[in-house]
């Protein structure tokens, strides 16, 4: 599943990393605990979180995450966007809550059998 399709279907706002939105998505993981994501997310996953602190970019970079989706209309800190630009990490935003974002994403990924 191409990340562009997800961005369009979930109507996500691209907050950083525009140049990498054509990546392949291999799955998704939702969590707000960074260490949990470090332990369980896989390369090429989309990560759904309400965290906005710049540490999310370090974790996304470590795990080679395809994109971070910040839910609830969360505004990433200035440092987060700077770090995302430097690392080429795609940061996406939505006003929807994690539950509906996950639900919609699950349907899209299930269709493509990459859940």
């Amino acid at each position: 599943m191409n990340l562009e399709i997800i961005i369009n279907q979930l109507n996500l706002k691209v907050l950083a990393g525009k140049e990498n939105t054509g990546r392949e998505v291999k799955g998704a993981y939702a969590s707000d605990l960074l260490s949990d994501v470090m332990g369980k997310a896989r390369e090429g996953y989309v990560w759904i979180t309400m965290q906005t602190h710049k540490n999310i970019i370090a974790v996304a970079s470590l795990k080679d995450i395809a994109a971070v989706i910040i839910v609830n209309g969360g505004n990433p800190d200035e440092g987060t966007l700077v770090a995302a630009a430097a690392e080429g990490v795609v940061v996406l935003g939505t006003h929807e809550a994690a539950f509906s974002t996950c639900g919609k994403l699950y349907k899209i990924l299930e269709r493509d059998a990459v859940v």
Partner: protein, 246 residues
């Protein structure tokens, strides 16, 4: 008794976010320069630089408390302090058994180095020390209490990695000796919103990751001499000992 000035939250070059200028010897020299009477070394999930800092501290007439800033399962940062290196080393074993194993990538998280007195690199820590432990704040505070240590939730008014950002309250079941508040956030507003924190002594520290930050935020303790047991009496407001912060 007299007032002693302390900065009890300082990271060395062993912490992933600690600057390369944060060798124990540079830290001690800066602490002396800033007129501090005692400091503590509190690296993320590690006590391994404490012994060296204490040895150098003794030569420069400054007390160094051995400690660590642990990251609980809930990703709450908490300061821990121990009476001597024997107890700190026992706590190090507890950390080693419970720290999630993720290999550090220095290019992302920074270098984690153990150095000697002459700033030669002795070892590079391969485990990511910024990771969380698999034990809860209650469990870790219990382990600290079992070693007769001091447990202080760090920067509780900060918006990330604090007991309030992660849980929204001070867990009544944890063994808490005091709380650290960060002066960068709106402290008076925080006090109004969380009067329950008033039952604990509030301390301020610099949380230094770079040499120029050391001693910029301090707390003063009224006691006989600067050491672990006097410090504990001061935060408990015992035997005439007391604390003066913000």
């Amino acid at each position: 008794m007299q007032w002693f000035k302390a900065d009890l939250h300082i990271h060395t070059v062993l912490s992933p976010c600690g600057g390369l200028d944060m060798s124990p010897v540079s830290i001690i020299k800066q602490a002396v320069l800033k007129g501090l009477d005692f400091i503590a070394i509190t690296d993320h999930n590690s006590t391994r630089h404490c012994r060296l800092a204490q040895e150098i501290g003794r030569k420069h007439g400054i007390t160094v408390l051995a400690g660590a800033e642990v990251n609980t399962k809930e990703e709450i940062h908490c300061l821990t302090f121990f009476e001597d290196m024997d107890k700190a080393s026992k706590f190090q074993q507890y950390i080693d058994e419970n720290l999630m194993f993720i290999e550090n990538k220095p290019e992302i998280f920074g270098y984690q180095l153990i150095v000697d007195e002459d700033e030669n690199i002795l070892e590079e820590e391969v485990r990511m020390l910024g990771a969380a432990m698999n034990t809860s704040i209650d469990e870790i505070s219990e382990a600290v209490a079992a070693l007769d240590g001091i447990f202080i939730p760090a920067h509780i008014n900060r918006l990330h990695n604090s007991v309030y950002s992660q849980l929204g309250f001070l867990p009544p079941s944890a063994h808490i000796d005091a709380v650290e508040v960060s002066p960068v956030a709106d402290y008076m507003k925080f006090l109004e919103e969380h009067p329950e924190t008033g039952r604990f002594c509030h301390v301020n520290n610099s949380d230094s990751h770079h040499i120029e930050r050391i001693g910029l935020v301090t707390t003063e303790y009224y006691m006989e001499k600067p050491d672990f047991n006097e410090f504990r009496m001061a935060i408990r407001n015992e035997n005439g000992r007391k604390v003066r912060s913000i």
